[in-house]
């Protein structure tokens, strides 16, 4: 039963009749141009998704804010502070008011996007590199290598993201290791990647295992392709879909994590501009000057939401079972 039309009919008939279809293993090689319906179908569905577009718009706004902060800050310098304006409330000239130092809050909140973007992107890059490499090797070679790598992954899993990052960032400044001993975005990104790569590894590993035994891989092997080539050209492209979803959502998660770590005191330090710092500083003034906590909170939430929404929409678009 390999006729595409027959397959469609069978699936149609059975799925509509309420049975489940076994769509687990990808029997379709997406690198075969004729069969890349997965991605074109996904895009067609994404285009129609309100969730996706909401997330995408927010994401574009956030990116613009991070890359061109002066536009959003109306040309004000976040460090141009005048103590006489301390804790000033929002007004038409200064939309978000002032913080304790008398610095324009709109400018500060806007400039905070930059660090968040940096850390989110770098962190996810780290997660992907570690996760894909370890997962692919473990899944592809199996047996002893898989055992060892999976145990290592289990060990890292035992340290939750926030807790592991707290310890590393706490001791980081006193080590001699280059980036980690600064208190900059690089250190935070590394800490987040180091304790956040495990889920990506498991995703990649299970996809590689599922795809490894499929027909087109056997065909490639029969034609004498090297391990590396099989892995990179045939297996990984078919394994990438869930990882893509995970990566998108993780950017949001890491941005939230950075704010939390900075708030707790182990992340970025003044004079860096970060939403976490702003929230921490505004904490004691919640009663009298709530805007100090509220504004960075709102922007932080919308930024995280942008990536979570896009990730959700992407997941629905790529999941064959959700399409009914």
């Amino acid at each position: 039963m390999t006729d595409p039309q027959q397959q469609v009919d069978l699936r149609h008939d059975e799925v509509q009749a309420g049975t489940t279809t076994v769509l687990g293993e990808p029997s379709v090689d997406v690198t075969d141009a004729r069969q890349n319906s997965l991605w074109s179908d996904a895009w067609a569905q994404l285009r129609r998704s309100v969730i996706f577009w909401t997330g995408a718009v927010l994401c574009v706004l956030f990116l613009a804010m991070a890359l061109f902060p002066s536009l959003f800050a109306r040309g004000v310098d976040p460090r141009d502070c005048d103590l006489t304006n301390s804790k000033g409330t929002p007004s038409s000239a200064h939309w978000l008011g002032f913080d304790q130092q008398g610095c324009d809050y709109l400018a500060n909140v806007v400039y905070g996007a930059r660090n968040s973007l940096l850390i989110g992107v770098l962190g996810v890059l780290g997660v992907l590199i570690l996760g894909v490499v370890v997962g692919a090797i473990a899944g592809f070679y199996g047996r002893a290598i898989d055992s060892i790598l999976s145990r290592v992954t289990d060990i890292f899993y035992a340290l939750p993201l926030t807790l592991g990052a707290i310890v590393l960032l706490r001791v980081g400044p006193s080590t001699d290791i280059p980036v980690i001993n600064t208190r900059g975005p690089g250190a935070v990104a590394i800490a987040l990647a180091l304790f956040g790569w495990m889920t990506a590894m498991r995703l990649v590993r299970s996809q590689v295992i599922a795809v490894k035994s499929s027909d087109y891989v056997a065909a490639a092997r029969a034609m004498g392709a090297s391990d590396y080539r099989i892995l990179v050209r045939h297996i990984l492209p078919n394994a990438v879909a869930p990882v893509l979803v995970y990566a998108t959502i993780t950017i949001g998660v890491l941005i939230a994590a950075e704010a939390t770590l900075t708030f707790l005191g182990v992340g970025l330090q003044p004079p860096a501009i970060s939403w976490g710092l702003q929230i921490a500083n505004g904490q004691s003034l919640l009663r009298t000057a709530p805007h100090l906590v509220l504004f960075p909170s709102i922007i932080l939430t919308f930024t995280v939401m942008a990536f979570i929404l896009m990730g959700d929409a992407l997941r629905d678009a790529l999941d064959p079972r959700q399409r009914s």
């Binding site: 039309q5 009919d9 069978l10 149609h12 008939d13 009749a17 309420g18």
Partner: protein
Amino acid sequence: MSSIVPAPAADPRGGTGTAPLLEVDDLRVEFRTRAGVVNAVNGISYTLDPGETLAILGESGSGKSVSAQAIMGILDIPPAKITSGRILFEGRDLLTLDEEEQRRVRGPGISMIFQDALSALNPVYSVGFQIGEMFRAHRGMSKQDAKKRAVELMDRVRIPAAAQRVNDYPHQFSGGMRQRVMIAMAIALDPRILIADEPTTALDVTVQAQVMDLLKDLQRETGMGLVLITHDLGVVNEVADSVAVMYAGRIVERGSVDDVFQRPAMPYTEGLMSSVPQVEAKGGRLVPIKGQPPNLANIPSGCPFHPRCHRRRIGPEAAPGRDCAVDRPELRLVVPGREAACHYSEEVLGV
């Protein structure tokens, strides 16, 4: 001479005087999907006598499974919709019964077994528990009694060491054994009719034979009617008394297995018979039927088989009222004991 009005449901077997167990009359099922309306079943009618084995033969996408599920009442009602028809069992139209009454028919009256026993059995409960459920739910038996009956049933379907294995889980059995567990569940309450939806498709050939033998023996013992849904011609030939060939949601030929297989009255059936590889004809070419089964959301006009039919008459070649692309042939009596839905059945038969 064709008729526009479908011939009255004359029993092709000539009738033995006993009332039929099951009478399906012009059953139609639709699915409302985002892509449009799918006409899965388009007016099928048949009867089943006690002790009879009726095979419903068709490719995937012919609507055979859907029709069986409609009889059982287990279709997901949206998106499915039974738009018309009657299903007469023991004199009552199942489609007019309320939910609770319909439920009581399932199990004691009509039961069903499915293709893939591994996914059709709940993986987290033991087989004894699942077989025993029939007794606990329908007869109010206690857990111990139900379990005892389960062991008896497992013996009856020839599962070795039943008493030891009653607490095992489905994944601990082989494919053939699992199918027997399903059969045990289905015959637990001595149903009058057993519907088997592709029961052997997922099994090895040798195991297939064992399972089919078991079904036949059980049928002989109990006199129940057996509806066998399959696409496997070999199984039909071995086991069934009569066969109804389905295409595009309709029955296009019906008669006894021997008759239909040796002298088909409809080009689709002809095609099916010729596509079976003949061991004697080694060295020749396989003869598939050209083309694809139709998309049930977009069934061709006239005779649904006409795009693939080598005997079709269209336009000027066609006799008046029998244009294969325009006029839909109804299922009609062609020779005694045989019905076919083709304008030119006589030609196909050679009468």
